[in-house]
């Protein structure tokens, strides 16, 4: 296996950067936290934009970080096929920054939701979901106030037609009901691909479900996308 260094991009207000690094290192993937002003290291073979509250969620969650100079580099790396993952605030940044379609905005309940949710794997034929089966139900934690996925009907149709929905919120039996939708996301969408399958964002936290010592490890599969580069 070639040397792999995943850059975990830290902004002021990021708070899942160390979780992401620890989870990746547990899987044997070399990862380092990179301060956004330093830019991506030359040997970057993967990018994680972690969760948190970058720039205090000013204007809109992710709006400021999405327009920071390092995101120009992240977009370029993503366009070159470098695996790029945005989690939670990183997902908001990804959508604000045009890596992925749609937007994540205020939860339907207007409340912060911090709990474990069930997700149905919608497409197991991507680097982020290859460890799962189509239709498999996994459990990941969420922790967000602005996780409601919004997208217009035409773009949603295109996302579905192109099989770019990764995960949908569901109940324990795999039904994508309104009751199992923690934030009112359109079509229960929890995570999507960008224009290519090497770019993904999701609101749930795979890095918080990756260490056996602290609980379930269903999130490992998402992070394994960084193993095979």
């Amino acid at each position: 296996m070639a040397a792999v260094t995943v850059a975990v991009v830290r902004f002021g207000g990021s708070n899942c950067d160390r979780d992401a690094r620890r989870a990746l290192e547990h899987l044997g993937v070399d990862a380092e936290i990179v301060w956004h002003e330093a830019g991506l290291p030359e040997d970057t073979t993967g990018v994680v934009v972690p969760g948190g509250f970058s720039y205090g969620d000013y204007l809109r969650a992710g709006a400021m970080a999405a327009r920071s100079p390092v995101m120009e580099e992240v977009r370029a790396a993503a366009a070159d096929g470098t695996p790029t993952l945005g989690v939670c605030n990183g997902a908001q940044i990804g959508c604000e920054g045009g890596l992925t379609p749609g937007a994540f905005t205020t939860n339907r309940s207007a409340r912060f939701r911090c709990e474990h949710v069930h997700l149905r794997v919608e497409n197991a034929d991507t680097p982020w979901t290859a460890a799962y089966d189509d239709g498999e139900i996994i459990e990941l934690p969420i922790a967000h106030g602005e996780g409601r996925f919004e997208i217009d009907d035409d773009r949603l149709r295109r996302l579905r037609a192109e099989d770019r929905v990764l995960f949908r919120y569901c109940d324990a039996g795999g039904e994508t009901t309104a009751a199992a939708n923690p934030n009112g996301s359109t079509d229960n969408v929890a995570g999507v691909l960008g224009e290519t399958d090497t770019v993904a964002v999701l609101m749930p936290h795979p890095e918080r479900a990756a260490l056996p010592d602290i609980g379930p490890t269903d999130g490992q599969g998402v992070l394994r996308a960084f193993e095979f580069e």
Partner: protein, 83 residues
């Protein structure tokens, strides 16, 4: 160059749920006010120098497109006045 103030108003598109506005509406009702509906918007006042009002509007519009609004969920309008 003339000094202008461009006012950019950003609001959610029709049909996009606004849980904060709904919460605010309910709070007003708890205070005893009767209200049919409530919409919220963000307003940005930009002081800038430009050759004419049209140029000022063009720049403010670009700012709305690139940062102040998110075209996925927002509509916006721009008004320009001499400062």
């Amino acid at each position: 160059m003339t000094a202008y103030t461009a006012t950019v108003t950003v609001r959610l598109k029709r049909g996009v749920l606004d849980p904060e506005a709904e919460t605010t509406r309910r709070a007003l009702e708890r205070l005893g006010f009767e209200i049919e509906d409530l919409r919220s918007a963000d307003r940005f006042e930009l002081d800038l120098e430009a050759d004419d009002a049209a140029a000022a509007e063009t720049r403010a519009t670009e700012m709305a497109e690139r940062l102040l609004a998110n075209p996925t969920i927002h509509d916006y309008d721009v008004e320009v006045a001499e400062a």
